[in-house]
């Protein structure tokens, strides 16, 4: 519907709307500011210059190890979770048991984090699986799975199965039809699920710490440091890098889409 020329009341309402969005963003981004400041503050700066804390990231082998593990687990979780979620959503469609399957997948959300961690750990012990990157990943995948599944389902909710039938009749078997037709159509949902999974992985501490075995993640390391010896400026520097890199990436995306729109 075309909006007629805005009246002053409407202009005020618009201002209110965008003011609200801005306010929420301020609240969400405000906690980013102290870490950034801390990454540039402290004694080491006098010794090593403005970016001393950033260099210190590389001097801390525990942190470097943690970063590596975090990235590995993040990658595994971001790849495996959407795939599993996709299989589950497909199974739900195939077998038309939405309540049962959805209920099952949502269950891990309802178990308090520590308890899920302990229960998973005991379960692994019963199965004879030793703690490793694998156990950490599994725990995080189960945590991210409900989110990923809900996201994928919302996208699949608007994918018409007739497209698959058309592909079958044109000679594609189930796999080919899925690969060549459905997958390209629900790509967005998979990306969304992957993003959700990655974010959840990056924020998971308590479940992971119980099955971490001989490895740290940035989160478990940071939580332990926070409790016992304090956070090093290198950790604040790392967080600052993450924000800056992501915002830059996002700005890049905006510019690229803008440019693609122009012609």
């Amino acid at each position: 519907m075309t909006v007629p020329a805005p009246t002053s009341a409407q202009r005020a309402a618009n201002g209110l709307v965008w003011g609200f969005v801005a306010l929420v963003l301020v609240f969400l981004y405000a906690p980013m500011v102290p870490p950034v400041l801390r990454s540039f503050a402290g004694a080491s700066v006098e010794n090593g210059g403005l970016f001393a804390s950033y260099r210190a990231i590389f001097d801390d082998p525990l942190l470097i190890g943690g970063i590596w593990n975090t990235v590995m687990i993040g990658a595994i979780v971001a790849v495996v979770t959407p795939v599993l979620a996709l299989a589950i959503a497909q199974a739900l469609r195939e077998w038309q048991k939405p309540r049962l399957i959805l209920g099952l997948v949502l269950l891990p959300l309802f178990v308090p984090g520590v308890s899920m961690g302990v229960a998973m750990a005991v379960f692994f012990k019963v199965l004879g699986v030793e703690p490793s990157l694998l156990t950490m990943s599994v725990v995080q995948i189960l945590w991210a799975l409900p989110f990923a599944t809900l996201v994928i389902m919302t996208v699949m909710a608007s994918f018409d199965e007739t497209y698959l039938e058309a592909a079958y009749v044109l000679g594609s078997n189930r796999f080919a039809a899925f690969w060549k037709v459905e997958l390209p159509c629900i790509r967005q949902g998979l990306f969304g699920a992957a993003a959700f999974s990655l974010i959840l992985s990056f924020n998971e501490t308590i479940r992971t710490s119980i099955v971490q075995g001989g490895r740290n993640t940035v989160q478990t390391y940071l939580w332990s440091q926070y409790q016992q010896v304090g956070l090093s400026p290198a950790l604040y520097a790392l967080m600052t890098l993450l924000i800056v890199a992501t915002l830059a990436l996002m700005a890049g995306i905006v510019v690229v889409t803008r440019r693609r729109q122009l012609p």
Partner: protein, 356 residues
């Protein structure tokens, strides 16, 4: 395994990731895993989380032998495999069998832990705001209402409160380190009453938070660990660590040998090598310098004698810390009891305090 000794540690035992000296001496690598110090974190890791198979050593605040040994999670220590053990005179001085300090490394007359850190805790305060303070009574002094923080820990805060109440004869307490459920209830009732009066700004947990509370001057009196005071001073805040007339709360960290039936003799030998290394002078000096706790008698001496490894400044700091902790031990106090007889009542009562 595979030539690497894995040690789970609460962060205090990490010499900045530098294990070159150990590697040079033994050819083994060290894999350090950061874990929490809360019993839940420790026990979950070992009991449920498969840590028994992963970790060779677990270095945490001592006093956990009872639950760990009874659940067969740790092994008896064979001191003969660690030449440095005998050289550590602090053990005999402060942690000898039969003395209350032994409860931090042994259980039922058996040695389970290697002491890695020793310390005596009281509380910190901002003299500019409060003037000189020499009693735990400051926690409950109406003058500081709303500017007091306690630690979220029933075996420290609970015990310090008990010390105060007993010393001032406010509550009948036989042993502040091991209270009966009735005594405990009285202590907690007292805390709850104070809490309701708005005496406490917060119950803190975590080193980072503690330091922040001091540097931001959010609170004036804080039940805390001495290294927090060091860090706050480094940041230019005038903080004192009190010498309370009721005495200090003494404690030690212990490195336990994790009971792993699958571990080979060779691996066990490597683990002992690491324990021995952690009893050694370089490691002790490093940890004292970095973390602010007393370690072993050779640390200060070693730092002073090795200017290529420790600057004069660092060596002085290490010596000062060592001397101060010894002073505090000399003044004395009570030993913290991490696993009191009625530990479940402690937990339940503490829940009551926090939920009140």
């Amino acid at each position: 395994a595979d030539g690497t000794v894995t040690i789970a540690d609460i962060g205090v035992g990490d010499p900045g990731g530098d294990w070159t000296k150990f590697k040079a001496a033994t050819g083994k690598d060290v894999n350090l895993v950061s874990i929490g110090n809360a019993p839940s974190a420790v026990v979950n890791q070992l009991l449920a989380g498969g840590g028994q198979k992963t970790f060779d050593i677990i270095n945490i605040v001592g006093g956990m032998q009872k639950p760990l040994a009874e659940a067969d999670l740790i092994e008896v220590i064979d001191t003969s495999k660690m030449p440095n053990f005998a050289k550590n005179t602090y053990i005999d001085t402060y942690l000898a069998e039969g003395s209350p300090g032994f409860d931090f490394i042994g259980y039922d007359g058996t040695l389970y832990g290697v002491p890695t850190v020793l310390q005596a805790d009281s509380f910190g305060y901002l003299p500019d705001k409060t003037g000189e303070i020499d009693s735990y009574g400051a926690f409950f002094d109406p003058k500081f209402k709303g500017f007091v923080a306690l630690e979220d820990n029933y075996t420290t805060t609970g015990q310090k409160t008990a010390l105060y109440l007993k010393a001032n004869k406010l509550v009948d307490i036989e042993d502040p380190a091991d209270m009966t459920p009735e005594e405990l209830k009285n202590v907690i009732d007292f805390l709850i009453e104070k809490k309701k009066e708005g005496q406490f700004r917060l119950i803190w947990s975590g080193f980072e938070q503690g330091v922040n509370l001091l540097t931001s001057q959010e609170i004036y009196v804080m039940d805390c660990w001495e290294p927090m005071v060091f860090v706050a001073r480094d940041k230019g805040v005038n903080v004192e660590y009190a010498s309370p007339k009721e005495g200090y709360l003494l404690w030690a960290m212990a490195a336990y040998l994790v009971n792993n039936p699958d571990r080979s003799d060779e691996e066990t030998a490597a683990a002992y090598d690491l324990l021995n290394f952690m009893l050694g002078p370089w490691y002790g000096a490093k940890i004292t310098g970095m973390r602010g706790y007393m370690t072993n008698p050779m640390a200060a001496e070693y730092a002073a004698a090795h200017p290529e490894e420790f600057s004069k400044e660092e060596a002085d700091k290490i010596a000062a810390i060592d001397a101060r902790v010894k002073d505090k031990f000399a003044y004395g106090g009570t030993w913290q009891n991490r696993w009191p007889t009625h530990v479940e009542a402690y937990e339940e009562e503490w829940q009551r305090f926090k939920a009140a």
